[in-house]
C-alpha cells in the first residue's frame, strides 16, 4: 500500500468533512424556527429578557458567518460544543450513543452480507429454479419496501401479535442489575428486530449482486477445471467461485456504509434504539444546532473511514490495483 496514496485519500476525506460542516451549518440555519424560542417553549414559556439571555448564552445573536468561524475553530480544537437542549457536551451525548449505532449498523451489515450472499449463492446454483425466483421476488420486495414500514410490521407481528421480541429499546430496564451475560443476551434479544429491519433492503441487494456475480464466475474456465478435478460442489461454490465473486460485494458493502447510517436513523426512531440516529432526529426537531452538527460530523467521519477501509481492503484483495493511485 502506497503511503502517499493513503495520505492523499485522508486529505480528501478531511476536506470532505470540512465541506459537510460548512454546508450543514448553513443549511440548518435556513430552516425556520428560533432555537431560543424552542428552549423557552420546552421550559414552559419565557420573557423577552430570558429569550435574549438564551440567545446571548448560545451565541445565537452573532452574525451567522461569525458563528460558523467560531464553530469551525472549536472543531479544530476537538470541541463539538454544548447541546442547546441538554446543556451537556455534544461529545458526551454522541459518546453515549455511538456504540448502539455501530452495533446496529454492523449487525445489519453482517446479517445482510451473510444471508444475502448465502441466498445469492444458493440461487446461482439453479438460475431458473424456484429458489432463484424466490430470491428475485424477495429482493425486489426488500428493495422496494420502506424501512420504517418493515419495522412497524415486524413490531406488530413479533412484539404484539406474537410477543417474542421486545417492542423497543436496547435493554430491559428490569434487567439492569443482571450479570453481564444476561445483559448481553438481553441486548441481542433487543437487537434482532431493528438489525433485521435495517438489513432487509441490503440483504436483497447482496442476494441479487452475489447471484449475478456467481453466475458470471460459475461460467469461468477455472470452475470447469475445478469440477473436472473432482472438487465437491460445496468446494466449488464457496472456495473457488465465491472468493472471486466476493470482490464486488466487498466494494458495495463499503460504499453502502453511508446509506446504512442514514437508514439507521429511521430504524432507531421506529425501535427507540438509543443511537445517534434518534439523537439526530430529535435534535433537528429541537433546532439543537450543535448536536445536529456533531452527529453529522461524526457520521460523515465514519463514512469517510469506511470508504477508505474498503478501498484499502480492495487493494489488498486485488493485487492489480496496488500500483494505481
Amino acid at each position: 500500500m502506497n503511503a502517499s496514496y493513503l495520505m492523499k485519500r485522508l486529505g480528501y476525506g478531511l476536506l470532505l468533512m470540512l465541506g459537510v460542516v460548512v454546508l450543514n451549518f448553513l443549511l440548518i440555519r435556513l430552516a425556520p424556527g428560533d432555537p431560543a424560542v424552542v428552549i423557552a417553549g420546552e421550559m414552559g414559556g419565557a420573557t423577552e429578557e430570558m429569550l435574549e439571555s438564551i440567545r446571548e448564552e448560545y451565541g445565537l445573536n452573532k452574525p451567522v458567518l461569525t458563528q460558523l468561524g467560531i464553530y469551525v475553530g472549536n472543531i479544530l480544537q476537538g470541541n463539538l460544543g454544548e447541546s442547546f437542549f441538554f446543556n451537556q457536551p455534544v461529545s458526551k451525548l454522541i459518546g453515549e450513543r455511538i456504540f448502539p449505532t455501530i452495533l446496529l449498523v454492523l449487525s445489519a451489515l453482517i446479517t445482510a452480507i451473510v444471508l444475502g450472499v448465502f441466498f445469492g449463492v444458493l440461487a446461482s446454483r439453479k438460475p431458473n429454479g424456484v429458489l432463484s425466483a424466490a430470491v428475485a421476488v424477495f429482493s425486489s420486495i426488500g428493495y422496494a419496501v420502506p424501512v420504517f414500514w418493515t419495522g412497524i410490521m415486524l413490531i406488530i407481528l413479533f412484539a404484539s401479535v406474537f410477543p417474542i421480541f421486545p417492542v423497543e429499546g436496547m435493554m430491559s430496564v428490569k434487567l439492569r442489575d443482571a450479570n453481564i451475560f444476561i445483559r448481553s443476551l438481553d441486548v441481542l434479544h433487543h437487537l434482532v428486530l431493528p438489525a433485521f429491519t435495517l438489513s432487509v433492503i441490503y440483504l436483497a441487494q447482496y442476494a441479487r449482486l452475489s447471484r449475478a456475480s456467481m453466475l458470471e464466475v460459475l461460467g469461468s474456465d477455472y470452475i470447469r477445471t475445478a469440477r473436472a478435478k473432482g472438487a465437491s460442489e460445496r468446494t466449488v461454490l464457496f472456495k473457488h467461485a465465491l472468493r472471486n465473486a466476493a470482490l464486488p460485494i466487498l466494494t458495495v458493502a463499503g460504499l453502502q456504509f453511508g446509506s446504512l447510517i442514514s437508514g439507521a436513523l429511521l430504524v432507531e426512531t421506529v425501535f427507540n434504539w438509543p443511537g445517534m440516529g434518534t439523537l439526530a432526529f430529535e435534535s433537528i426537531l429541537r433546532r439543537d444546532y450543535p448536536t445536529i452538527m456533531g452527529v453529522l460530523l461524526i457520521a460523515s467521519g465514519i463514512v469517510v473511514v469506511a470508504n477508505l477501509l474498503t478501498d484499502m481492503s480492495y487493494r489488498i484483495a486485488d493485487p492489480r490495483l496496488r500500483g494505481e493511485s
Binding site: 425556520p32 424560542v37 417553549g41 420546552e42 419565557a46 444471508l115 417492542v167 434487567l175 434479544h189 430529535e282
Partner: protein, 518 residues
C-alpha cells in the same frame, strides 16, 4: 439451511433466556413510560411534565396538595399566613436530609424559592416574594410585596422543589448547572442513573423524612417516543404506568385490557385546555362578532363525542372546569349556524372571508383533526379555512410567537391556580411579540386587567372566585380564545399497582405511597 436454523436457534435462546428471568426485585420496581424527553431533572428552572415527574420524586417541597385541593404538610409541618397576607411562615420538619446526608434547612428553602423566582418561566408564581427570612434552621418567613393567594399552591412539588444550597449555590448559572442532570434532593427517591434523552433510574431513599416511605424500591422512567410502541410495552408488562395518555384510541384500547386500569383522575392541577386562539390584531378577527360567529359554528359536542370518541370533556372557559374557580354560567356558544351567519353579516362579512388556521404539532386527534373539522364546519358560514400545518414545534412557535397567524390551535395548561397558568394569556401587559404562550392573541381589556390583578391579591376565596367569575363572563363574551375541550389526559396502569397517583398533580407528585399488591 443449517446456518439459518442456527441463527433462529440463537434468537430463540436469547428470547427464552430473557423472558425466564424474574421481573421484579423485592419491594418492587415501577416502570413509568413517557413519550416526553426531559431536558434535565430540575423543576425549579424548568416547567413541563417531562421534568416534573422525576423532579417531584427526587426533590421534596414545602407543601403538597391532596385530591381536594387542600394543602398538606410536607417539608413544612405547618405554616401561618399573617392577617395582612404579607407574610407566610413555614415551620420545617427537623429530620429531613438531602440525599448526600446534609440537613434540609430554612436556608435551602429560601435559596430555592428565590432561585425559582429568578429562573422559572412562570414569573407570576413568586413575583410578589420580596425576601425570605430565616430566623432559625427550621423556620422560613416569606415576605411579600402584596398578598399572594397562589403562594401555597406554588409551593407544591411540581413547582417549588427545594434545592440544596450547598450544591446549587456555587455561583454557576442554575439553568445550565451540571447538577440539573444529577440532582441531589430530599424527596422519596434518589437518582441513580440518568443519561440525556434516556431513562431515569430512581432508587428508594432509605433516609426519607417520612417513616415507612417510600414503599417502592425503585422507579424507572422510561422514554418511549412512539406511543404505539409504548402501548405494546404496557400490554406486554414491559412498562407499568403511562400517565398523560390523551389519544382516544389508546384510551379505549387500554380500557379493554383486563390487566390494565385506566383513570382520568390526576389532572385537575394541570388543567390542560385545548383551544382555538384568535389573533385579535387581524382586521378579519378584530370584530368580536366574527369571533362569536366562529364559536357558534363549531360544535364542541361533536368534537368531544364523535372526534374524541367521548373521552374528552367540553371546556367552556379559560379556567379548567374541574377548578374551584370555574364559572359554570359562562356563555357556552352552543352550535347555531343561523346565528353565526347573522353575526358574520352584521360584521360586514356576509360574503364570507378567507382565514388560515395553524396548529401546534402534536397529537393529530387534538389538533390536526380539529383544524380540518373547522375547515368544513366554518365553510357553512362562508369562511374558507386554509389549514397551515407546521412541520415541527419551532416553525409553529415562530409563527404564533411572532403574531404571524390568524387562528391557531393549541393546548395550554392552567397549572393549578389562575395566577400561574391563566393570567398570562389575557393580561394586556403580557402581549410580548416573540414570546410563545404569552398573550399572543394581543387581547387587551382594562377591566379584565383590573379583575385579574385584583384576583391575584385577594385572599378571601369567595371574593376571589367572584372576581374570576366576572373575568370569565367578559372573556366569554369577547372571545380572544374559543375554548374547545379539556385534553383527555388519562393514566393507564397495571391493576396490581396500588395508590396510583390521582391527586390534583397526578404523577407530578411524590409517589411515596405507591406500592405493589403482591
Amino acid at each position: 439451511m443449517k446456518l439459518m436454523s442456527r441463527l433462529l436457534g440463537a434468537a430463540a435462546f436469547a428470547a427464552f433466556s430473557v423472558s425466564s428471568i424474574p421481573a421484579f426485585a423485592d419491594g418492587g420496581t415501577l416502570v413509568i413510560a413517557s413519550t416526553q424527553t426531559p431536558r434535565h431533572l430540575n423543576g425549579a428552572v424548568q416547567s413541563g411534565i417531562a421534568t416534573a415527574i422525576p423532579s417531584t420524586q427526587i426533590f421534596a417541597s414545602p407543601i403538597r396538595y391532596d385530591e381536594n385541593w387542600e394543602p398538606q404538610p410536607y417539608l413544612a409541618k405547618s405554616w401561618e399566613i399573617s392577617d395582612d397576607g404579607l407574610s407566610v411562615t413555614l415551620n420545617l420538619v427537623d429530620n429531613a436530609t438531602f440525599h448526600d446526608g446534609k440537613p434540609v434547612t430554612s436556608e435551602d428553602v429560601a435559596f430555592s424559592i428565590m432561585t425559582t423566582k429568578e429562573n422559572h418561566p412562570f414569573k407570576s408564581m413568586f413575583a410578589p416574594v420580596e425576601s425570605i427570612e430565616t430566623p432559625d434552621a427550621h423556620t422560613a418567613v416569606i415576605k411579600l410585596s402584596k398578598p399572594h393567594p397562589a403562594l401555597l399552591l406554588a409551593l407544591s412539588p411540581a413547582l417549588a422543589p427545594v434545592l440544596p444550597k450547598h450544591v446549587y449555590g456555587d455561583g454557576q448559572d442554575v439553568k445550565s448547572h451540571p447538577a440539573n442532570s444529577a440532582p441531589v434532593g430530599s424527596g422519596p427517591f434518589i437518582l441513580e442513573e440518568f443519561a440525556a434523552g434516556g431513562d431515569a433510574v430512581l432508587k428508594k431513599n432509605p433516609n426519607f423524612f417520612i417513616d415507612g416511605r417510600p414503599m417502592l424500591d425503585e422507579i424507572i422512567i422510561r422514554i418511549i417516543k412512539d406511543e404505539s410502541a409504548l402501548l405494546i410495552a404496557l400490554e406486554n408488562g414491559e412498562a407499568d404506568l403511562y400517565p398523560f395518555m390523551a389519544g382516544s384510541q389508546a384510551i379505549r384500547r387500554m380500557e379493554k385490557n383486563e390487566r390494565i386500569g385506566v383513570t382520568s383522575e390526576g389532572y385537575a392541577g394541570v388543567g390542560p385546555v385545548n383551544w382555538l386562539a384568535f389573533n385579535t390584531n387581524s382586521p378579519k378577527l378584530s370584530d368580536v362578532r366574527v369571533r362569536q360567529a366562529i364559536s357558534y359554528a363549531v360544535d364542541r359536542a361533536f368534537i368531544t363525542k364523535a372526534l374524541h370518541r367521548g373521552v374528552s370533556q367540553p371546556q367552556r372557559g379559560p379556567i379548567i372546569e374541574s377548578s374551584p374557580f370555574f364559572d359554570a354560567s359562562i356563555p357556552s356558544y352552543d352550535v347555531d349556524l343561523d346565528k353565526a351567519k347573522a353575526l358574520m353579516a352584521d360584521a360586514g362579512f356576509a360574503e364570507g372571508m378567507d382565514l388560515t388556521v395553524d396548529y401546534i404539532p402534536g397529537p393529530k386527534e387534538q389538533q390536526q383533526s380539529l383544524a380540518e373539522y373547522m375547515k368544513s364546519q366554518l365553510k357553512k358560514i362562508g369562511i374558507n379555512v386554509t389549514v397551515r400545518a407546521a412541520p415541527d414545534f419551532p416553525t409553529w412557535a415562530g409563527r404564533v410567537g411572532g403574531h404571524d397567524f390568524e387562528l391557531s390551535m393549541d393546548v395550554v395548561f392552567n397549572w393549578g391556580d389562575p395566577v400561574i397558568g391563566v393570567h398570562r394569556t389575557y393580561l394586556s401587559e403580557n402581549i410580548r411579540k416573540g414570546v410563545i404562550w404569552s398573550n399572543t392573541q394581543s387581547y387587551a381589556n382594562d377591566k379584565v386587567d383590573d379583575l385579574l390583578n385584583a384576583a391575584a391579591v385577594e385572599m378571601d376565596p369567595a371574593k376571589r372566585k367572584a372576581l374570576y367569575g366576572e373575568f370569565q363572563q367578559i372573556v366569554g363574551a369577547e372571545l380572544p380564545v374559543y375554548w374547545i375541550n379539556a385534553l383527555p389526559y388519562h393514566t393507564a396502569y397495571d391493576k396490581k399497582l396500588q395508590n396510583v397517583p390521582t391527586g390534583i398533580w397526578g404523577t407530578m407528585h411524590p409517589m411515596d405511597t405507591v406500592h405493589w399488591s403482591e
